[in-house]
Symmetry: C3
Subunit: 331 residues, 3 copies
């Protein structure tokens, strides 16, 4: 597994300085782990001190760091080193890891009325139900279920265990028992969407659940029925969006964070890990709700005090009144 | 896809007023989204203002709203419009979406000693292990595993990726390593239970894990070994019940909420989303433990203060003492 | 299903006292549930009061409780009754539940370049991708995916729905869209690792994700790319470790607990259920961050007060100043 520096800049652009086009690169590694056969990258200012000491054969840097990088050895100057690194991983994979061939694996179960684009891949042991549509160049890796009438756009990547179009969770209550509300909608997923392992996206009750273009979902995520997720949203693992919520474009949802049902998030809202969104958020920004972790003994004391917090506030109010009175009427 | 109003009331009861039995309905929609071919329903008082303006062909209403509904146009008067709507979705589905035929899909792996009722459906790529039993009219959609000796009752619906009867998580510690406790129990699931995509119910250690009749579980739920879940409990997505806990009938567990092991919840206990139950709850009611979400900068200030909360309480106590002293002994 | 007391001590050691070697045991049960055909065990001091009243045919006890146990009837004296019980469940299972035979189930999809040890079991509907390796006596139960180039050690047990080696969640941002960072690493799992149902372990970005020997993972766990989990760590259900975090040996992670990315946990750190680790923890111990659950009405009051907590602290400071001033300058 190798690439020459010349091949890299020919494919991805950027300017190679202080290095030979013929130099052979045998791996990609972070600055501090890179050996003399590796190419590395400097994308975060805080890592700049690692630059001089790095043993990498070549470092991808921003124009502002060109002089420091040259002082060390070979570099590739690129406007955004992290994006350049991302495209380099894509080039690396194309060269060394043959793409899954398009077509339907013989072990997959695809119903006759489903439409699978000839350039799409339906991997081993997938299920594609009646009337479902799989777009061009989309890959269902293995053990993916796409339910009846659900649509997946082009260039999507669905990891193992993904379930698209299971029933949303909807019941009416009658005499203490639950009466099922059949979920008559479907799921519509745009282009360039990636969905992590064992993630579930439920079909809508009356209308469709919608995931727009460019959305990236990590593993073990739950998307409830009728949810609408805007373009280029990214959600980290184990997060969940409850039914009928709307997530604006370019939002990010931290790991294990949750959004309650029927809420709306504006564009560019960022939810910290594990936080629970309990009301709609109309203003872009970072939002957080996390109980700070502590040594257990200290946590116990603070948690006990927290259960009396509103009483503590009353006591402070009483003190303020008493102090005011003693000022007004000093004995 | 259509139904006539007459067919609806013939099948589901209720009284059609101000409309023709022959009127053709082509969809079901909420009041504000309904077009002139749709039937809608009014189940929540807060939506009443939407009634007059709705373009729906017909609205399902409670007897108390009959006059207002008639002023607008056609209506079906029913005791509980939301339950009526639920049954209407069932009728709609029966008419337009052919039921999965009973039987075992050729791609499923069913061991010889498993018992599958002739009216049950074992969908594509399911696994039913030795000695398992699948009751009448129960549907395993696709990619479901039912482990050895586990029993599923009648009219259950198991969504893709469900795992019934994986080993419970039990180990003894010996010299820093873990010694497996083989899980010798099984899982017993009653009738009319629905289980969401990728949800897991572990087999018991010595006795069985039990899910009683009418329980509804959403996606990505974890039920530990020896848990007992009472009739008509509903659990939202990503929630979890740790080992040996007992959940009383008619409880509801919010999304991503957790119940610790060996606890008991009385009947009709309702746990808010994301809350962690750390002690048994003997009294019906709603219980909550959520850190309120806030703009990140404000959260940081409050979280920092929270880590000193017990000291703040001490300071308030000291102030109270000092103020009392100054009163007792004014200079 | 039965074992004689003599067979038990012959296989597992310990000293049988006050009972016949020929006595037939037909089940294993806790002290309070055991009937006259059952063997039981006393492993926790708090259960000691149950000993005298237990109907068990035989009780496994520590040497210190030998006299009390003899007063009741038959007992097996063993250094660690809970470990003895664990091994007894293993013996029970070996005798009564035939082990899954080694080999590759005909419904599994194993690519030609994968290496599966002849003593390993690849169960129904599993996928083992190119270049993957499955060690001796390891069992993939059913519907497990092991991705390309991933390695699983010896004597591992992977429950249904497990996904090893899906892509880690890595993207660069460019003009509001996400550019995929191909995940070029793999997953390396040691010996004696157990992985629960529907748990996901992502492949590394540049290097490998590593799970060391003896680790036990429950169901629905998410392990991000580049994570390193030390020997004999145990993680309960629904917990998650974000990318590039390092978990020291012998740590335990409670159910639904989360560790943020790039953090390090020392050895023997114990994280309580649902707690979020937001900074590295260098000192062994128990750490907790849980919002205490309460009746909803009380929670609402305390949560409202919490959002003003830093202001309350300011008010206490002001009171302290005012009181000091009134002392310094009494009127």
């Amino acid at each position: 597994m190798s690439l020459r520096l010349g091949e890299i800049v020919d494919a991805l652009g950027g300017v190679l300085e202080g290095g030979e086009r013929d130099a052979v690169i045998t791996g990609i590694a972070p600055l501090d782990a890179a050996g003399p056969g590796d190419i590395s990258f400097l994308s975060q200012p805080r890592l700049q001190p690692q630059l001089a000491a790095s043993r990498a054969a070549c470092v991808i840097v921003a124009p502002a760091l060109r002089m420091q990088a040259r002082a060390r050895g070979a570099c590739i100057v690129a406007a955004d080193p992290y994006v350049y690194f991302a495209r380099l991983t894509q080039l690396w994979r194309q060269r060394h890891d043959p793409a899954v061939p398009p077509g339907i694996h013989p072990s997959a179960v695809v119903e006759a009325s489903a439409e699978v684009h000839p350039t799409a891949t339906v991997g081993p042991l997938c299920v594609v139900e009646r009337g479902a549509r799989i777009g061009a160049h989309t890959v269902l890796t293995s053990r993916v279920t796409v339910g009846a009438r659900c649509e997946i756009g082009a260039r999507c990547l669905l990891h193992p265990g993904v379930v698209i179009g299971a029933d949303g969770f909807g019941f009416a209550q009658e005499g203490g028992a639950w009466v099922k509300i059949e979920q008559l909608g479907a799921v519509r997923i745009g282009d360039d969407v990636e969905i992590g392992a064992n993630t579930c996206i439920d079909r809508g009750a009356l209308r469709d659940t919608v995931i727009e273009d460019g959305v990236k979902l990590d593993n073990l995520i739950q998307i409830g029925h009728n949810v609408h997720i805007g373009r280029h949203v990214a959600m980290a693992g184990c997060s969940a969006i409850a039914g009928s919520a709307t997530i604006g474009a370019h939002c990010t949802i931290g790991g294990a964070a949750n959004v309650l049902g029927h809420l709306s998030l504006a564009e560019n809202v960022h939810i910290s890990a594990v936080s629970l969104v309990t009301h709609s958020l109309r203003k872009p920004g970072q939002y957080t709700g996390i109980f700070p972790i502590d040594e257990n003994a200290r946590w116990e004391k603070n948690a006990a005090a927290l259960k009396q917090l509103h009483k503590l506030r009353e006591r402070v109010k009483a003190l303020e009144r008493a102090l005011q009175e003693s000022k007004d009427d000093p004995r």
